[in-house]
Structure formats: structure tokens, C-alpha cells
């Protein structure tokens, strides 16, 4: 398992390939499910020019690792990788990558979804947006995907 946070531009698919080569035994996993989230140029109806993502160094990584471990305990997963961008970023920049390897794809899908739901809804990150009008404001509520972020392990059929 690898979890890392970076201020540098994220190259998510290179991270997947590099980690797979370094950590996964070749020929044993059936597949990898990944989610790559990119910064949009709008939020709640406003045009967004840039975003600054704040986090709590140490705590953020620690809590993400714990959630990855929960996923690996709950589903039959071989390995998982999480990379998260912080600091200044602009629309179209990749923000987050979650990749999960398993023998059977069902487990990868469920585990990947569980981890990204946590990251998007409950992980210690704070968004500060700069609108195209030049206004800077802290986002107060994450409005995306209400209802799917429950911090509860639930197996889907």
C-alpha cells in the first residue's frame, strides 16, 4: 500500500504503472480499477480559475492509510495506491488518484469506490477557490455526490 501527498503536478497513470512495476507480482492480478479526479473550471454554478488545497501534514496521510487498510480488510484486494495533490492548482490538473489491484474486479471496484468516497467527503482537506472574478473563498460544504459518502463499509451486490 502506498499513500502520498504532493505539491507537484500529478501524473496519475505514470504513478499507476510505476507502482505496479515496483510492488505487484507480474501475472497475478486480473486487473486494476482506478479513479482519477481532475479539477473542474466550475463549482456550484461559479467559474473557478484556481484552487488552493490545504491539508494537515501527517494527519491526512495517516487517516487515508487507515481507510485503505479498512478497504483491504473488507475486500479481497491485492494492493492499493493513493496519490493526492495539494497546494495551488488550476482547472484540468489531476487532483487525486486511487488505484486498486485485485484478482477479481468486483473487489477492486468496491474498494476503489470506498476509498475515493472517503477522500472526497471526509479526508482532512480544505478547498480554497479563486473565481474568475478574482474572489478567493474557502469552500464550506462539499456538494458533490451527496449520500454516497457514508463512512460505512457496505458491500454492493
Amino acid at each position: 500500500m502506498k499513500v502520498f501527498i504532493t505539491k507537484d503536478v500529478l501524473d496519475p497513470y505514470k504513478e499507476i504503472l510505476d507502482y505496479e512495476k515496483a510492488a505487484l507480482p507480474p501475472g497475478k492480478h486480473g486487473g486494476v480499477v482506478s479513479f482519477v479526479g481532475t479539477m473542474r473550471d466550475f463549482n456550484d454554478g461559479q467559474d473557478v480559475r484556481a484552487m488552493n488545497l490545504d491539508y494537515y501534514p501527517g494527519m491526512t496521510e495517516h487517516h487515508i492509510e487507515r481507510v485503505c487498510q479498512e478497504a483491504m480488510n473488507e475486500w479481497d484486494v491485492m494492493d492499493c495506491l493513493v496519490a493526492h495533490r495539494v497546494g495551488e492548482m488550476i482547472p484540468t490538473d489531476p487532483i487525486v488518484l486511487v488505484a486498486v489491484w485485485s484478482a477479481h474486479r468486483k473487489d477492486s471496484f468496491d474498494a476503489c469506490r470506498y476509498i475515493i468516497n472517503y477522500l472526497k467527503e471526509s479526508a482532512p482537506f480544505w478547498k480554497c477557490e479563486v473565481t474568475t472574478a478574482g474572489k478567493k473563498h474557502w469552500v464550506e460544504k462539499n456538494s458533490e455526490d451527496p449520500g454516497v459518502a457514508k463512512r460505512v463499509v457496505r458491500k454492493s451486490a
Partner: protein, 77 residues
């Protein structure tokens, strides 16, 4: 009792600082006591707190050396 206090996101802006050392000479110190000391106000429910990087609440009793962080609700990655 020596504590390290950290603030994140909008709360850092409001406090005008990202971290500080706080010493309190008192037998029993809770998170609520610490917040009172740094802000002169009761801890609002909208502010979250972590002690040594684990979520906790206002009644949590602190010990010397603890790192206490105050922050607004997280808005996700």
C-alpha cells in the same frame, strides 16, 4: 503544561496564525479550556478538533506535549 496548537484553512486566516506554543499552568486542561485561552470564546460546534492527529471533542483532557489542531469542517479532496 506545554501544548502545540495548529489552525487550518479558514480558521488559520481568522486566527491570523498557523500554529503557536501555548503553556497553561492548571491541573486539568480540556480542549475547551485551550480554545478559551487562545480565542477568548467558547468552542463553537462548527469547529473540529484533533489531538495528536485523532479526532476528538471539547471534553478531551490534554496532557503536556499534545499537538492540538482546530479546523473547519473538511471539504474533501
Amino acid at each position: 503544561m506545554d501544548l502545540k496548537v495548529r489552525y487550518f484553512a479558514s480558521l488559520r486566516d481568522r486566527m491570523g496564525r498557523s500554529e503557536e506554543k501555548v503553556s497553561i499552568d492548571q491541573g486539568k486542561v480540556t480542549v475547551a479550556d485551550l480554545w478559551k485561552k487562545v480565542s477568548n470564546a467558547p468552542l463553537p460546534e462548527t469547529i473540529l478538533v484533533a489531538v495528536n492527529m485523532e479526532y476528538t471533542d471539547a471534553a478531551h483532557e490534554l496532557k503536556s506535549g499534545d499537538e492540538v489542531a482546530f479546523f473547519p469542517p473538511v471539504t474533501g479532496g
